[in-house]
């Protein structure tokens, strides 16, 4: 997409932007305390946009179509935190935990688990083991996972007991893989087996310690509910990918048709959320206490730091995975050319499925943070999604650095804009910024190479 504007016009636009920036700078110098406040708010909001934009960029630069479910995932994540925690927050005034929802979610999880087990293990084992036995074992496993999900959802007040050990084991396994990977890299893959043993031992020790801590601390339920929510949103994303997008990609539908289909999903899911939870906005309590710290004359909540930290940590994790693992190379290959990636032997279906899962989990995390920051309502997803998209356009479509930079830039600009304008106009500012960028700098701040 080329810019239709001449050099002079772009120069004039650049000058105008520079004038605005100088004006903001002047305002900041004349009242540094307020500037500090606005800056921190901007970074905190920007972190949410950045999380949205990172996941969005991951998905978009792999499959190159605009998946609106990604917005619903944000709302789904935030609402499932509310679903799991409302019993304690509202003290049973508002009974939202219904068996119907639990059963539906458990069935979705079981179905996705069955598919994952099938794609991951069936082909590998079917030569050696009897196919029927394999199917029965796989089905039983998937059903067990579904029943477990149902249990976790039905007893949210025992989340630390039901889900804590699982989370600990997951973290332990991740640590095991990480240590093994590093060990292999350092030793060039030819080191003695003892390294593997050390990895297993340390991973196991970590899992047991963490598991004991989690089971014995009811305060961890909030964080566990975040994890459950991200997993749920990701699983629904995976289900949609398998049930819908794979089918549509097989029929080689155009990106615009996939967009409209995901529009239908967004419409239906948003309505489902507002049927279950009603459409009034609901607050999620601040997890770190609402007493602000005063730094340089600005009142800064602990939550702001947490949001910024989460965005940066998410970025670093995703970035290192994409840069240094074979999975990351496969993702980048699919983003460049899916046909060729398939020809050289990459299992594109599985890789894209993982991308969908991870991307929607990011969206869910952004939704949760945004819910804790302000409030949740069924329609929040679309606006968050659009902000995430704007951020990725501002940063440069398809570039991870651009996504995080764009998120923070968008958040800062929104906040500094409502310094002079009224707060209601910040969406207008965001979309104005989008149109400005698309017209004059369609490549964004950091173009994709």
């Amino acid at each position: 997409m080329l810019s239709y504007f001449s050099r002079t016009e772009r120069l004039i636009a650049t000058l105008l932007v520079a004038i605005v920036l100088i004006y903001i700078g002047w305002r900041a110098i004349s009242s540094p305390e307020q500037a500090m406040q606005f800056g921190f708010n901007g970074l905190s909001v920007g972190a949410i946009y950045a999380l949205m934009a990172i996941g969005f960029t991951l998905v978009y630069s792999t499959v190159w179509f605009f998946d609106l479910y990604y917005g619903a995932a944000a709302a789904l994540g935030a609402y499932s935190v509310f679903y799991l925690r409302s019993q304690e927050w509202l003290g049973g005034q508002y009974q939202v935990n219904t068996p119907v929802v639990n059963i539906i979610l458990a069935m979705v999880v079981a179905g996705v688990a069955a598919w994952v087990i099938h794609t991951a293990f069936y082909g590998r084992f079917k030569e050696r083991v009897d196919a029927t036995a394999l199917r029965i074992v796989g089905g039983a496993l998937a059903m067990a996972i579904g029943i477990y999900t149902g249990l976790v959802l039905t007893f949210p007040s025992y989340l630390h007991i039901t889900f804590g050990p699982v989370a600990a084991v997951a973290i332990g396994v991740a640590a095991l893989w990480g240590i093994k990977y590093l060990y292999d890299r350092v030793s060039g893959g030819r080191g003695p087996r003892a390294g593997l043993l050390i990895a297993i031992l340390s991973g196991g020790a970590l899992a047991i310690t963490l598991g004991l801590i989690l089971v014995n601390s009811p305060g961890s339920k909030l964080y566990l509910s975040w994890a459950v929510s991200c997993l749920l949103a990701g699983t629904v994303g995976l289900a949609l990918y398998r049930g819908l997008y794979v089918r549509m990609r097989q029929r080689s539908r155009s990106p615009l048709i996939m967009l409209v289909a995901s529009l239908g999903i967004l419409l239906a899911l948003t309505a489902c959320i507002s049927i279950v939870f009603q459409s009034a906005p609901r607050p999620l309590p601040d997890p770190f206490g609402s007493v602000p710290w005063t730094i340089g004359g600005a009142n800064i909540k602990g939550f702001n730091f947490f949001a910024i930290g989460t965005a940066i940590a998410g970025f670093l994790a995703l970035f290192s995975v994409l840069k240094w693992t074979s999975f990351g190379r496969a993702v980048r290959a699919i983003g460049d050319d899916e046909e060729v990636a398939r020809v050289v032997g990459i299992n594109t279906t599985v890789i894209v499925a993982i991308v969908f899962f991870v991307g929607t989990a990011f969206a869910a995390m952004a939704g949760i943070l945004s819910g804790h920051d302000t409030a949740i309502q069924p329609r929040m997803g679309l606006l968050l999604l659009l902000k995430g998209w704007i951020a990725s356009v501002v940063g440069g479509i398809g570039n991870l650095y651009g996504a995080i930079l764009g998120g923070f830039v968008l958040g800062l600009i929104e906040q500094f804009a409502i310094w002079d304008l009224a707060g209601e106009w910040k969406d207008v500012v965001a979309f104005g910024l989008l149109i400005l960028f698309l017209s004059f700098w369609p490549q964004g701040l950091l173009p994709r190479k």
Binding site: A268, A271, L382
Partner: protein
């Protein structure tokens, strides 16, 4: 039998040989969709009585105007705009501001001017305002395509909603505008449902006429060429940007007309009628009915109105969930259509 024949031509074939109705080939979906929706509409109107049917027709007229004018942009030119609700709102607000005579000094501090124009004087102005804004917006949007176009049109819908909500000097913000004038010629005030239906249908006829003229002229053929391949149309010497801008402005003007009719019909408007969700519903109507056919848009609007009103009478559905249930049905329908029949029920073009 030819697969590409439109529904009514197949009907004659079925009359000749009834067994053809049973062959559920792809082309027959059109016929079944037509028959089913129209039959549902007839049965529904017969069951619910004349007054209800009249109101239903008025609503249908407004949605049909909207979907036909959006179809010019989405179906014929291939620009997936999700922002048309903005023009609808512009038209509605123009008529409301120009005709409403109620002032609100007790509600707000600043005095808000009232004009007290008659409806038929305000309606062309509404179309003009929508067209003017569309011209400006279109100049900015003309260079975008595909999903970027969707994004910026989302942006337009959100910006216009924010303007309606926050530009309190003109729009009175969330209070809305009361007492929008009903259509009036001389001393004849169109204030019964039947007369309003008449106005709505006349406006719909005008919109259909203009759209039909555009579609069947050489202008319309250039639009289709742009949809199929913009660069080829450019190579053949057409100023693609001018054509896109022209159809965008015409479509926006007709949408503004529908907006004016809407605000006069409800006599009260507030920003909540022009949220992004309504725009998404509108796009789904157009796609549901069928891209690049005027008849498809009419059918889509009819199906939507039936869905909206019909669900109100489902016994097992609590009243407060009707709106959401409608969205669920529409969303699922959209997904199913996109998988199996991306051109919509009677469409001529796949996105």
């Amino acid at each position: 039998m030819n697969e590409n024949l439109p529904g009514w031509q197949r009907l004659t074939g079925i009359l000749r040989d009834p067994r053809e109705a049973l062959t559920l080939s792809r082309g027959n979906i059109e016929l079944w969709a037509n028959l089913l929706i129209i039959l549902c509409a007839l049965v529904f109107m017969l069951l619910k009585g004349a007054t209800f049917a009249v109101t239903l027709t008025t609503v249908f007229g407004i949605w049909a105007m909207l979907s036909i004018s959006l179809n010019l942009v989405v179906g014929y030119t291939g620009l997936l705009s999700v922002g048309h609700i903005g023009f609808f709102g512009l038209g509605a607000y123009t008529v409301a501001i120009l005709t409403s005579t109620t002032s609100y000094e007790n509600l707000r501090t600043g005095e808000i001017p009232t004009f007290g124009w008659p409806f038929f004087a305000a309606l062309p102005v509404a179309a003009l305002v929508a067209g003017l804004v569309a011209l400006l917006v279109g100049i900015a949007f003309n260079r975008f395509r595909d999903d970027i176009y969707v994004l910026v049109s989302f942006g337009f819908a959100i910006i216009s909603f924010n303007v309606f909500l926050n530009l309190r000097v003109l729009t009175r913000g969330a209070f809305g505008i009361h007492d929008v004038a009903r259509p009036q010629i001389g001393s004849w005030v169109f204030d019964t449902e039947l007369e309003l239906m008449l106005v709505s249908l006349v406006l719909l006829a005008i919109v259909i006429g203009i759209s039909w003229f555009i579609v069947s002229s050489s202008f319309g053929r250039v639009l289709k060429a742009i949809r199929e391949d913009e660069q080829v149309a450019e190579v053949f010497g057409y100023h693609v940007t001018h054509y896109k801008l022209a159809v965008w402005v015409i479509s926006a003007m007709m949408t503004g007309l529908a907006g004016g009719m809407f605000s006069s019909w409800t006599t009260f408007i507030d920003p909540n009628s022009f949220i992004l969700l309504e725009s998404i519903l509108l796009v789904s109507i157009v796609i549901l009915g069928g891209l690049a056919t005027i008849w498809g848009s009419l059918l889509g609007a009819l199906a939507f109105v039936l869905l909206e009103e019909g669900m109100r009478f489902l016994p097992f559905l609590p009243q407060e969930y009707v709106g959401q249930a409608r969205q669920v049905v529409l969303g699922v329908l959209l997904v199913v259509l996109m998988v199996f029949r991306p051109q919509g029920l009677v469409g001529r073009f796949k996105l």
